[in-house]
């Protein structure tokens, strides 16, 4: 029995499934209390499904709205872990596949949701280290050409990050930048293969 458990865990995502209601409640509480309220007790006992960092993000929003410094990709961040799952059969279908092309899960989401948020909502193992601020390449996904071509071109910031993505293809995008439209119904997002550090350990740095 434990064998089955392991495999399920390895295949799917680390964090337990989120109870959206709970996460919304947590978020509301943080909003009203503003930034810095978490006691050490709530640190250890807080629900795992709370979108990590909601607190700091809110602090950031206050901060940025009061000061016009420079455009930081911000808006997608607020939604992560908190997107609305559409009623079954009414949403836009998204297929997530692993690097070998096997289907992980087919899920449904709403117009405007991005692939990173959708992956997090449905516990797909897609990382979002910078939480959708286009400052890393961890949510790199590979699309099929017919869907890739329907998307607006990636902007410079996204391209800068894609430059660093591992296993880049001609139809690669950052998941956080792919927002669903009705036309994208049936889109397939394939996760790139991970590296094995077997091949990079001990390699000498290239001499300049």
């Amino acid at each position: 029995m434990s064998n089955l458990c392991w495999r399920a865990n390895i295949l799917s995502r680390s964090l337990p499934n989120c109870d959206r209601q709970l996460s919304l409640i947590v978020r509301r509480r943080i909003t009203t209390k503003s930034a810095v309220t978490q006691s050490p007790i709530s640190l250890s006992s807080r629900p795992r499904c709370q979108s990590p960092g909601a607190k700091s993000r809110l602090a950031w929003r206050d901060w940025f709205s009061s000061s016009q410094i420079r455009a930081i990709h911000y808006s997608p961040v607020t939604r992560h872990g908190g997107i609305e799952r559409p009623a079954s059969g009414t949403g836009i279908k998204v297929h997530f596949k692993d690097s070998k092309g096997s289907l992980i899960k087919t899920v449904e989401a709403s117009e405007g949701d991005d692939l990173l948020a959708i992956a997090h909502e449905y516990d797909i193992d897609l990382e979002g280290a910078c939480e959708g601020s286009v400052a890393c390449s961890t949510c790199h996904v590979i699309l099929t050409p017919e869907y890739y071509d329907q998307l607006p071109e990636p902007d410079d910031d996204e391209n800068d990050m894609l430059d660093m993505a591992f296993g880049l293809t001609d139809t690669s995008r950052l998941g956080c930048q792919v927002k669903l439209t009705k036309d994208l119904d049936g889109i397939t997002a394939t996760l790139p293969s991970a590296t094995r550090n077997m091949f990079v350990d001990g390699k000498k740095p290239t001499k300049h």
Binding site: S2, N3, C5, W6, N9, I10, R13, S14, L15, A35, V36, Q38, P40, L43, S44, R46, R48, P52, G53, S56, A59, W60, D62, W63, S66, S67, I69, R70, I72, E127, A129, C130, E131, A135, C136, S137, T138, D156, D157, N159, D160, M161, D163, M164, A165, F166, A194, T195, R196, N197, M198, V200, D201, G202, K203, K204, P205, T206, K207, H208
Partner: protein, 484 residues
């Protein structure tokens, strides 16, 4: 058969350490059917998150979002963090840290993973550190208020800075020197640093590289940020450097870099108070300071070209000098040479498939390394994360009953580690430090984190950092208020 416990000591508390911990704790449910797991992180610094706190440029706050995931990992009851603990023999120990021998770790843990990073700057043989020549790491430590207390640079007395090397650290330093202080003031930049920057008389930053634009180490993101600076402009690049020979196939990043460089900076050269240049095909050969005028030095540069066969920089025989006030070397990093399993040829620990390899070439059982400690100082956060996940898989392959051990499979049996440690015990020295309040835990850090953000918000910035003296004082007041 009882499940083998995994009581893992991770030496280091940076992103690699946290990603390893995160992966292990998320793949092994905290349940009776799972092997008992504990992951304890030890950091020589009092604050966790390594280069995310003490390396990431202040104007890249988005990169620091990964700490939210680290916070989530730290909330797992099987996780503990111990700061201010220096394990082994550091060349440059931080004064207030507790010393802990590796054997104390071995006695208390069943598995050990080194995530010690690459903490020392690689120097240039022709440019020994001096009053006029410092490693970029000193500046990074200064503007992040790293506990090793790098002194502030005398920016009010200099006008020209020469950065040797054109990787992202070099460009970070250039941006710190060229970005308006009013912009930096809103980020996580300590007030004392802003004071120095506001008095800066730096007018030009030269970024010197031995090879050309195609070989440059910076990423397009960092280049674009420099190009878009509001108060600075770039010296136009010699057009012939931007026309690669037609038989070369350029990578995507190379073509985009060339495009960016051809367009030049957003502000026309000369229209701004500050300027910068990418000085390609130049290799420093020495620095001469005139004793009668110590404010200026002459940097000797050999002119170079790229040998098409080896891709290395070779001298053309020509040379020139560049008058400059401060030379900052940014040539990469290496590990501590006194660390166990350090390979001086590699500049980091000797590993294969995340396993530690002995001098004799044997893979050690239950000893691992991840991150820059294992791969050397290269790659961005995403590569560190992937590497850490692979290392976590190697650890789990040795522990989980349904997994096959990862390569290499021929392992030297260790006699050092403790296969059946007291799961919740910590080394005696750590227990003592905790009692004295000089060893920090994650809960302490979260209190400081909140306070830093609060102090920052009061003055309209992301956070105001504490040093260890501030932090210790603050923790004492918080602990006094608590009932224990």
């Amino acid at each position: 058969m009882p499940l083998k416990p995994l009581k893992l000591a991770v030496i280091g508390g940076g992103p690699s350490a946290f990603y390893v911990a995160s992966r292990i704790l998320s793949l092994v449910p905290n349940a009776n059917t799972s092997p008992p797991v504990r992951v304890h992180l030890f950091d020589r610094l009092w604050a966790p998150h390594g280069l995310v706190r003490y390396g990431v440029a202040p104007d890249h706050p988005e990169v620091k979002n990964c700490t939210h995931k680290f916070d989530a990992t730290a909330s797992d009851p099987r996780f503990r963090f111990f700061g201010n603990i220096n394990i082994g023999d550091a060349i440059t120990p931080i004064s207030h840290t507790h010393k802990l021998s590796l054997s104390s770790i071995f006695n208390s843990y069943s598995h050990v993973l080194f995530a010690t990073g690459c903490t020392l700057p690689t120097l240039h043989s022709a440019l020994p550190p001096s009053q006029h020549c410092i490693p970029a790491l000193s500046l990074v430590h200064w503007y992040t208020q790293h506990p090793n207390r790098s002194p502030p640079p005398a920016l009010d007395k200099i006008s020209h800075v020469s950065l040797i090397g054109n990787g992202n650290v070099s460009l970070d330093v250039a941006r710190m020197l060229l970005t308006p202080v009013s912009t930096l003031a809103q980020y996580d930049v300590p007030e004392s640093v802003l004071d120095v920057l506001s008095r800066s008389s730096v007018r030009h930053v030269s970024i010197i590289g031995r090879r050309g634009p195609l070989e440059a180490a910076f990423t397009t993101k960092e280049l674009r940020e420099l190009i878009n600076l509001p108060d600075a402009s770039m010296v136009p690049i010699e057009p012939s450097f931007l026309k690669p020979s037609p038989d070369l196939t350029l990578s995507r990043q190379q073509s985009r870099t060339l495009q960016l460089l051809s367009k030049g900076s957003k502000n026309a050269f000369g229209s701004t108070p500050k300027t910068w240049s990418l000085d390609f095909y130049r290799s420093p050969t020495g620095l001469i300071v005139d004793p009668s005028d110590p404010t200026t030095a002459e940097l000797s540069l050999a002119h170079t070209m790229v040998d098409p066969r080896t891709q290395r920089a070779v001298s053309t025989g020509e040379s020139s000098t560049l008058p400059t006030s401060l030379v900052v070397t940014s040539l990469g990093f290496h590990g501590e040479p006194t660390a166990s399993f350090y390979d001086p040829g590699l500049g980091h620990l000797r590993t294969l498939g995340a396993r530690i390899i002995t001098n004799e070439g044997h893979a050690l059982k239950n000893m691992y390394a991840s991150g820059w400690a294992a791969t050397g100082a290269k790659g961005v956060l995403a590569s560190t994360m992937m590497n850490a996940y692979a290392a976590a898989d190697t650890v789990l392959g040795d522990v989980l009953p349904d997994r096959e051990p990862e390569e290499p499979k021929v392992l030297v049996e260790d006699i050092l580690l403790n296969p059946n440690p007291d799961l919740d015990g910590v080394p005696r020295e750590v227990a003592q430090g905790l009692k004295e309040g000089s060893v920090t835990q994650y809960g302490d850090w979260k209190k400081i984190d909140e306070e830093e953000i609060k102090r920052g918000q009061a003055v309209g910035k992301e956070r105001e950092r504490m040093n260890w003296e501030d932090a210790r004082k603050f923790l004492e007041t918080v602990r006094d208020r608590s009932p224990h």
